[in-house]
């Protein structure tokens, strides 16, 4: 059977269930999959988390390296986010330089962290214009069953909470906790046949019409958003997704 036929059958199956108000794994439309987070998973990183979101597994590693700030922001540390969608994790990932999908994941995760001020980058400045901490957030996907945005966003926040600034190794005194400021959690919703489903599996992503990721912080304020896929949302749907994502984001945040 060709890929297209398989996709059609999958779509039929999923939408028929949705019409009855059901998802193929038995979840409610607005229900996340089971979430397990193990922090300090990687000893060679300053902060890290192993995240299992359903059958999706990612490792997020945070490393801090001394370096120079950007000329236009001499007083702030540098944040760099990278996502490796390695072929280990899925038949659909290919080796080679980052493709548009992994770039989008990295940039959306980066935007949530940065705009939600997860880390107080100003406190990562050691000498204005000269020396700052460069913070690398590396997302390594080991097992891919959909919704990398949220798994990575959760993992990054969990890693930040337990990360240490390695002052000692740099001869700068004692290690101190990373200056965490906010906890921007992103929640992703897809639209299939007019239904809005939280935390899509890979199969759901494949048949989805549109996707919207919304990151919020503790205040309930929005800090980042990304619409994806070939479909569209009505304005009402957008606002409904924003409401749902904010609510579920708060629940997740309370558990971290």
């Amino acid at each position: 059977m060709s890929k297209d036929v398989v996709a059609d059958l999958k779509r039929d199956y999923i939408t028929r269930l949705l019409a009855k108000g059901m998802r193929s794994d038995g979840r409610q439309f607005d229900e996340m999959r089971s979430l397990k987070v193990e922090t300090n998973y990687i000893g060679s990183a300053q902060g890290s988390a192993l995240v299992h979101l359903g059958d999706t597994t990612v490792v997020v590693g945070v490393k801090l390296i001394l370096g120079a700030p950007f000329p236009d922001t001499p007083n702030t540390g540098v944040l760099t986010t990278n996502a490796e969608l390695i072929p280990m994790a899925s038949e659909t990932f290919e080796s080679g330089p980052p493709d548009q999908t992994s770039i989008e994941v990295a940039r959306v995760v980066d935007r949530g962290i940065r705009e939600g001020h997860a880390v107080d980058l100003e406190k990562l400045c050691l000498e204005p214009g000269k020396q700052v901490w460069i913070m690398f957030v590396d997302v390594h996907v080991l097992d891919y069953d959909g919704n990398l945005f949220d798994a990575a966003s959760i993992g990054a926040n969990a890693a930040f909470k337990t990360a240490m600034v390695p002052n000692k190794a740099a001869g700068l005194g004692e290690d101190v906790p990373l200056p965490v400021k906010h906890q921007p959690i992103s929640i992703t919703v897809v639209k299939i046949d007019g239904k809005l489903l939280v935390d899509p599996t890979h199969d759901e992503e494949r048949v989805a019409d549109a996707r919207l990721t919304v990151a919020t912080i503790e205040t309930g304020n929005l800090c980042a958003m990304q619409k994806g896929l070939d479909g569209a949302f009505t304005l009402d749907e957008v606002l409904k997704v924003v409401e749902t994502s904010s609510r579920i984001g708060a629940e997740i945040r309370s558990k971290l």
């Binding site: 297209d4 935007r111 705009e115 009505t234 304005l235 606002l239």
Partner: protein, 249 residues
Amino acid sequence: MGGAPTDLKLIDERGLRLDGRRPDEMRPLKIEAGVLNKADGSAFVEWGMNKVMAAVYGPRECHPRHLQNTERALVQCHYNMASFSVEDRKRPGPDRRSHEISKILSEALTHVVFTEYFPRTSIDVYIEVLQANAGTRCAGLTAASVALADAGVPMRDLVASVAAGKVANTIVLDLGKEEDNFGQADIPVGYVPRTDEVVLLQMDGDLTREEFDKGLHMAVGACKKVYEVQRDALKRRYSARAEGQEEGA
């Protein structure tokens, strides 16, 4: 929303912005369709100090083959900034930002093109930013829609695009460069007027849900004005063509 604090007063005591605009006022927008000879369709957009060219080739054979979709055309958008388009020279070739923008613009345009009419083909949309001054992805999407129509690609409707944002705690329309650099939030929106649908939506910064609601509606309202300018450009293009044909006849 890099947002280092500055002495810059982004909104003055009269409620006007750095360039004298009201909060809900767009920068001047000019669109011209059919400006290139070789492309199947093209459009040039001058929007404030942005200069953006869009060109369309296709539907044509899809390379490489493994990307072909047996049921529909692939709309492949390529957003690129000329090296001289920004203050510091940009290294030629796509960076990560360009790749992300290309992806979301491709998705937004795919929604309005009747891709099912042209299985196995590629419709290539090239967007070249010649001069950049905030808002180039919206300008590019706006130009690309007109270029697709100019190329005769069958579409459900045009996509119109503009951003709302927040500066000095005020929701404003169509951020300029300083507002983008030192403002509080940006919400680029791509909108399909005929179906009342959002096909492009991003946000970054800090917004209450009420502010986002207001910004989204402000952007959508402005998209309808952008849409008029797009249609005018196409009308001028068609009448020029018609004249050309009469002259030719």
